[in-house]
Every structure is written in structure tokens, then in C-alpha cells.
């Protein structure tokens, strides 16, 4: 059974050469999740797709097929391209890599699509990179079903208190009982509450958020490595 999908909002996450003139492209689509497609002739001089098949360019795509690998029938621009440069570009590549590594193919997540669009738009408007990445990671965990509460302790259900310290258990959340959840690192309640509000004005909060996200992401990534991190010098 083949399926035809018309004019679906999408972004290119990654493209690699395939045979002589084609590309094997990983798309993030709004309603069909991550999708791999062969785009025939995309690398030839005359290709009408040249320049559109580029990360961070909002596009509409149509395809047919229902297998792991569909074939692209149509592509058109959908709004102005988001031209990321410098560190924003590296940050955008980090988001792409996170999605490729964490989102299963054909797992529909309109929420992740919208967040991604917001995230790269924020990077484009030169909003601060780190808060943008942390916001995206936080929403990504929730969307993938790995979310946890930033407002209540997981072991006692007590509200997180500013003066308290908490251990972090990726499968549960933040825990008050530091003896039971014997952790090398503990996190300040005040920081957790700030992160809950996406308030990253304080540098220490930002550092805490980065530490927590690293731990939380690594649990979901298993033995996969996020290579883009090597690019941030």
C-alpha cells in the first residue's frame, strides 16, 4: 500500500549524497515525524531543488511511499529561509543531531516541530544560544514522554523549595531524600524553580540547567554520542 502525502511542512535535518546525483535526506515533518527520503537528481546543476534542500529552510514537501525510505515528489519554499551563522549555526546543527538521534522515524510530533521552528527562529534573531537550547531540550524530553516535574519533588510530592537541595533521578525527577537517592551532584531548589519558569537570567541557573539536561539526555541517548558538542569551543 502506498501513501501520498501532499505539501507537508518540513525542515531538512540532514542530507547525504546518494548515488551520483541524488540525495538521501532526513526531514522533520510536522505531522509525520522524522522521515527519510531519496531526492533524485538533487545534486545535479539543473535541479530545481538546489538551495531549498538545506537545513533551517522552511519547506513544504510531497511524497509517496510508506516504507522506511519514501520518494520525494515535490518541494516548495514555505516562508523565508532562516540563515543561521556562526555559533547559532553550530547550535542549530546540535538541535538537528538531537532530533535525529532521539526521534524515531514516523513518530508524529507536531509539538516538537513547532518547538524546533521556534528554536531556530530564536537562534536566527540572535537570542542567547544557551537558554534557547535548554528550552528546546526541556520541551523535547516532555514531548518524547521523558518529562519530569520541576515544581514538585518526585519522592515526596512536596513543592520544590528554594532553600532545599535535590538529587536528580532521570526516570523520576528531583528527589528530596538525599540518603536514598545517593547522588554525587545535588541541585538547588531555587535553580530548579527558575528553570521551571524558563528564567535563565542567572548564569548559575544556566549552568545547572546544562548539567541536568546532559544527564537527562544521555539516559535517553544510551551509548549514542552527540558529536556537535565537539564543535563548541
Amino acid at each position: 500500500m502506498t501513501e501520498r502525502v501532499l505539501l507537508q511542512p518540513a525542515f531538512v535535518l540532514h542530507a547525504r549524497p546518494f548515488k551520483d546525483t541524488s540525495l538521501l535526506v532526513d526531514f522533520l515533518t510536522r505531522d509525520y515525524g522524522r522521515l527519510s527520503a531519496i531526492v533524485r537528481g538533487a545534486r545535479s546543476q539543473q535541479s530545481r531543488y538546489r538551495g531549498h534542500l538545506r537545513s533551517f529552510v522552511p519547506i513544504l514537501i510531497s511524497w509517496s511511499g510508506k516504507s522506511e525510505l519514501v520518494s520525494l515528489n515535490q518541494l516548495e519554499p514555505n516562508g523565508s529561509p532562516i540563515l543561521l551563522e556562526g555559533n547559532s549555526l553550530l547550535a542549530g546543527m546540535y538541535l538537528n543531531e538531537l532530533i535525529v538521534r532521539l526521534l524515531h522515524q514516523h513518530d508524529a510530533h507536531p509539538d516538537i516541530f513547532d518547538d524546533y521552528y521556534k528554536g531556530i527562529s530564536a537562534l536566527h534573531q540572535n537570542e542567547e544560544i544557551e537558554p534557547t537550547l535548554r528550552r528546546f531540550e526541556k520541551n523535547l524530553l516532555v514531548a518524547l514522554g521523558f518529562g519530569f516535574s520541576w515544581a514538585h519533588a518526585a519522592d515526596t510530592s512536596n513543592p520544590i523549595a528554594t532553600s532545599q537541595w535535590y538529587a536528580f533521578e532521570p526516570d523520576l525527577g528531583f528527589c528530596e531524600n538525599l540518603q536514598k537517592f545517593n547522588q554525587r551532584t545535588v541541585f538547588s531548589g531555587a535553580h530548579l524553580l527558575a528553570i521551571a519558569q524558563n528564567n535563565y537570567d542567572n548564569h548559575d541557573v544556566l549552568r545547572t540547567a546544562k548539567q541536568i539536561m546532559r544527564i537527562a539526555m544521555q539516559v535517553r541517548l544510551g551509548n549514542k554520542v552527540i558529536k556537535s558538542r565537539e564543535l563548541f569551543i
Binding site: 535535518l13 540532514h14 547525504r16 548515488k19 551520483d20 532526513d26 538546489r50 538551495g51 531549498h52 538545506r54 537545513s55 533551517f56 529552510v57 519554499p77 523565508s80 529561509p81 540563515l83 551563522e85 556562526g86 555559533n87 549555526l89 553550530l90 546543527m93 546540535y94 538537528n96 543531531e97 535525529v100 552527540i226 558529536k227 556537535s228 565537539e230 564543535l231 569551543i233
Partner: protein
């Protein structure tokens, strides 16, 4: 369906880019029917290239000697270094005869999703090359793809720290191109990088 040796040959030919099963079959029969000496020469030159061709110690391009002919040419401008993604880029630039310095070939570009990071593009070798003080100008000529641009940005950060002047090839509207048919990315980039008319 074919005898084991023929099957093996067909499978082996399929490792070449763009060669599918049908083409591989055609190639195998062509060689066996009509081009046995040429086939033997191909096998020999494949073997000897694979055994003897390595990377130039200075620029990383393919060559069988320690230094490639370009790197061992003392008549080149010794203070300029051009960084490119692949050996074919060197050939393309050489054909324009506009650049007379030396090259460094990354043999790829930063592409984290493919597992290609700084180490894989020879960053240590590039650092050593830049640290010997020979170069006063580095020209980054990576492709204007997302990965090529990320690579350029990453390299520029490293080069600037060494107080070496660093430039990048301009990109924009291709010669003979028409605005109407350009994609949005190219056109916006051309706008941002517009130059004054003198």
C-alpha cells in the same frame, strides 16, 4: 545464477559509486568477453594505488610520496594557505590560476550526524601547519552548504586565535544566473554580502 567467480566480480563492482546490479553485470561481461587485458591492467593499478597511495604529510591530499607535487613546489606563495574540502576542489581552484599559495585538504567537512568532528577533518595536522609561522593569510574555501559553513566558522575561530588573517570565499548569485530563479537562501545571502559599486 552465475558461477561463483562471476558473482564475486559483480558484487565487487557494485562497491563503486552509482553502480547498481545491472550495470555491474554489464561491466563484468564486457571485461570477460572483450577486455581481458584491460581488466587485468585495472586490477593491477587498483592494487598498486591502494597499496601505495597515502596522504600528503603537509596538505593531506592523496599522493604516494611524502609530499605531493604541489606542496613540494618551492615557487608557490609561501605565506598563503587555502583550506578546501576535497582533492577535487584543489583541482578546480588550480584551473582558475588565481591562487598561487599552498593548500590544506580537510578530506570532508564537519558533519556531526555522520560522526565527522574536528579530529576527522585533520584539525591537529592543520594546527601544526599553522603554528610553524609560515602563513600570514588563510583562505577558507569550504562549500556553501550548512556543513561547509559550520566548518568555516569553526576553523575561523581557531585561525583568528593565532592572529593569522582569515578570509572566506564570497558566495552569492552565480555568473549568468537570474534572480527570478534563485532560491531564497542564496538570494538573502547575496543581499547581506552586497558590495559597494566603485
Amino acid at each position: 545464477m552465475f558461477s561463483p567467480l562471476i558473482n564475486e566480480l559483480i558484487q565487487a563492482l557494485r562497491c563503486l559509486p552509482g553502480i547498481g546490479l545491472k550495470t555491474a553485470q554489464r561491466m563484468a561481461f564486457q571485461i570477460l568477453e572483450r577486455q581481458r587485458p584491460q581488466g587485468l591492467a585495472l586490477a593491477k593499478s587498483l592494487q598498486s594505488a591502494i597499496e601505495n597511495v597515502g596522504h600528503c604529510k603537509a596538505c593531506r591530499t592523496f599522493c604516494e610520496s611524502e609530499l605531493c607535487t604541489l606542496c613540494s613546489n618551492p615557487a608557490r606563495h609561501s605565506h598563503q594557505l587555502c583550506i578546501v574540502e576535497s582533492p577535487t576542489d584543489v583541482i578546480a581552484i588550480e584551473q582558475t590560476a588565481t591562487f598561487r599559495g599552498y593548500y590544506f585538504v580537510l578530506m570532508g567537512r564537519l558533519s556531526p550526524i555522520d560522526g565527522i568532528g574536528p579530529q576527522q577533518i585533520g584539525i591537529h595536522q592543520l594546527n601544526e601547519r599553522l603554528d610553524n609561522g609560515q602563513f600570514t593569510e588563510v583562505i577558507i574555501a569550504t562549500n556553501p552548504t550548512v556543513e561547509g559553513e559550520a566548518t568555516a566558522h569553526y576553523l575561523a575561530n581557531i585561525i583568528r586565535e593565532k592572529s593569522i588573517s582569515c578570509t572566506r570565499l564570497a558566495h552569492g548569485i552565480p555568473m549568468g544566473g537570474e534572480l527570478e530563479y534563485l532560491d531564497g537562501s542564496t538570494l538573502s545571502r547575496a543581499f547581506t554580502a552586497r558590495t559597494a559599486l566603485t
